[in-house]
């Protein structure tokens, strides 16, 4: 790539955007700001409104209310072809009646850019498909088509590149490879990327900032490691990775921590890691932060010990073993133990205690669905 092709992306701002479809609200008063040059992921289950958000930004859908700003300029009423935005579609949407190169040239020629041929060839070599320029899209494999779609969007140097689950149709190995390539290209070209996906690993792996969406709203937004370490709602806690949640009344409070009682066990969370300090609250911990012991462990006061319980399921997943432990009056606890060949002699039915450090607990703002409010 020529040096002068590195351009800064623009920031994207959604102000109070709402989208109603007959019978349901796809987006509920959404506010979002994506700084220029960031790789931003919108993560959520299907039907959460993430694709609608993307289509509103692209101009393919009109918001019921609210404003869309790119680089500070209000484009809410601009037509799609007037927006400095390009999209990599989930279906790739490559033109079947054109060659690969003609597909990539399309946007440049529409904007009457004179050296479109050279730019298109450069873009094709960026995605390492120079040898396939004269082919038709339908003669390429899924991964190659995906790269052509990426080149076709990137060649226009949009202020904002929208990615609509473009890796969804690829197999796992190819997806991994494309994730790495996509991230490398984003760093190289310095554009703002808005990536929509339902794959939490993909979002965490690639994005600088992840926004978790649920039912037309952003539940939580932040750096992937922050979201994972400190989810604030039951939905985020469960959608992003796995988690063990304990629900109980607050029985003890001191300046630094909050404790609840669950089935005769005391479970504590640092006050600064808890959203709610009174009444019935949910405290969670990630499965890989939990240990189990075959006898009641004697641990320092900064640990939580719960048990005894019974191992009811063991799953081997390669790098780790997943244990499901049923603790009477508490519920089921999942534990991931690294598979380093010296895991304790545990079998189904063994009696065990689980423990984790208080600093790994997190307190949620809400209770999981189906839990009675106190």
């Amino acid at each position: 790539m020529a040096e002068n092709t590195k351009v800064a992306g623009a920031d994207l701002e959604l102000i109070d955007v709402r989208k109603d479809f007959p019978g349901f609200t796809a987006l509920d008063d959404m506010d979002l700001h994506i700084p220029a040059g960031q790789f931003f992921a919108l993560l959520g289950p299907s039907g959460c409104g993430k694709t609608t958000t993307l289509r509103i930004v692209a101009g393919l859908e009109t918001p019921t209310q609210g404003q869309v700003l790119i680089g500070g300029k209000d484009i809410t009423n601009s037509k799609p072809h007037e927006r400095p935005v390009n999209t990599v579609f989930q279906s790739y949407a490559l033109f079947p009646h054109m060659t690969v190169l003609e597909n990539i040239e399309f946007g440049l020629r529409q904007r009457k850019i004179s050296d479109y041929q050279k730019l298109a060839k450069d873009a094709l070599s960026l995605v390492e498909l120079s040898h396939l320029g004269e082919r038709r899209p339908q003669q390429l494999s899924g991964g190659q088509q995906q790269r052509v779609a990426l080149a076709r969007a990137l060649v226009n140097r949009p202020s904002l590149l929208l990615l609509d689950e473009p890796l969804g149709a690829l197999d796992l190995k190819l997806r991994r490879q494309m994730q790495i390539e996509l991230k490398a290209i984003q760093l190289e070209v310095g554009l703002t990327f808005l990536h929509v996906t339902h794959d939490q690993e993909e979002a965490m792996d690639m994005a600088d900032i992840v926004a978790v969406m649920n039912k037309g709203r952003i539940e939580q937004m932040g750096a992937p490691e922050v979201l994972y370490d400190r989810p604030k709602t039951a939905f985020v806690s469960k959608f992003l990775g796995q988690s063990n949640l304990f629900i109980g009344e607050v029985v003890e409070k001191n300046p630094t921590s909050v404790s609840i009682e669950v089935g005769g066990n005391k479970i504590t969370v640092a006050k600064k890691r808890a959203e709610k300090h009174t009444g019935k609250i949910a405290i969670g911990v990630r499965p890989e932060k939990v240990d189990f012991h075959e006898s009641k462990p004697r641990l320092s006061a900064d640990h939580i010990v719960v048990g005894p319980g019974e191992i009811i399921d063991i799953r081997f997943t390669g790098v780790s073993n997943q244990y499901l432990i049923d603790i009477p009056n508490v519920g089921q606890v999942t534990v991931f133990a690294q598979n380093i060949g010296k895991s304790p002699e545990t079998e189904l039915g063994a009696k065990v205690w689980v423990s984790w450090k208080i600093e790994h607990s997190y307190g949620l703002a809400d209770l999981p669905d189906g839990t009675e409010e106190a």
């Binding site: 692209a58 101009g59 393919l60 037509k79 799609p80 072809h81 935005v85 390009n86 999209t87 579609f89 279906s91 949407a93 490559l94 033109f95 079947p96 009646h97 399309f106 946007g107 529409q110 904007r111 076709r152 969007a153 226009n156």
Partner: protein
Amino acid sequence: MAFAAFSNDKPTKDSSTKRKSGPVVLALLAPGLIYLMLFFMTPLISLVITSLESPDPSGAIGSYFNDVNFSNYATVAVDYLPQIMRSFGYAFAATVFALIISYPVAYFIGVKLRSRPLTQRLMLTLVIAPFFISFLLRTIAWKQLLSDDSGFVNILHSMGVLAPTQFFLGTDAAVIFGLTYNFIPFMTLPLFTNLERLDVRLLEAGSDLYANPRHIFTRVTLPLSMPGIISGTLLTFIPIAGDYVNASRDFLGSSKTSMIGTMVEADYLQNLNYPSASAMSVLLMGVILALVTLYVRRSGTEDLL
């Protein structure tokens, strides 16, 4: 092709297996082959033979003997040149009008009505509905509607489009109107079949890539619907060029609008000049074949999807 399909799973097997599959294939193909031999090849050969006959020396009307008289072709090509030119002119005009009228209709039904399958089916039925009535009856009905004392002609007179001494029936316009009207469904249906499958996500991709609606149409929609346009234009142009009803003076035409079909009919049924009628038919077939070949080559159908 059919033979290859049956035999290629065991290409190295001895010939006995091939012989075994042979009769089955022949039996399956037989009805079609017999039909084509009887009802296509035989009349075609008979037509070519008749087109080369010479008049009986006795001079009796309608008597001819087998000959290799190529001058029949030269005669009809010269004598009926105006009708030949008119036929293809009418066919071209009517095909263009049918395309202009059908494309938006097919687009509307095939693309815009996708979310309402019931309305879509209803609209499609309406396109085909005229076929429920014989096209002779429909054309006669138009003759009534467009007749010299009809409201339509009165309006044209009062608007000054036609002079008081001019009328609509029997003009080029009337014949082209009738041809367009009668063949529109043959244009609409192939276009619909094509546009029904148009991937609207490609249109979104076009608008995402800075194409305005006009460019999306010319650069994406139109090229993608070329297969439909080609089959539609062929299905209208070919039968229109040979049509003898609309241009006939019994329907919408006059002696000044006669087409090849009209002349074939007259030569065959009235003048009893069978060689002339046959030569004209063969000539028409040859010209259409040449034009269609040229058209398909030029439009590069093999290049499209």
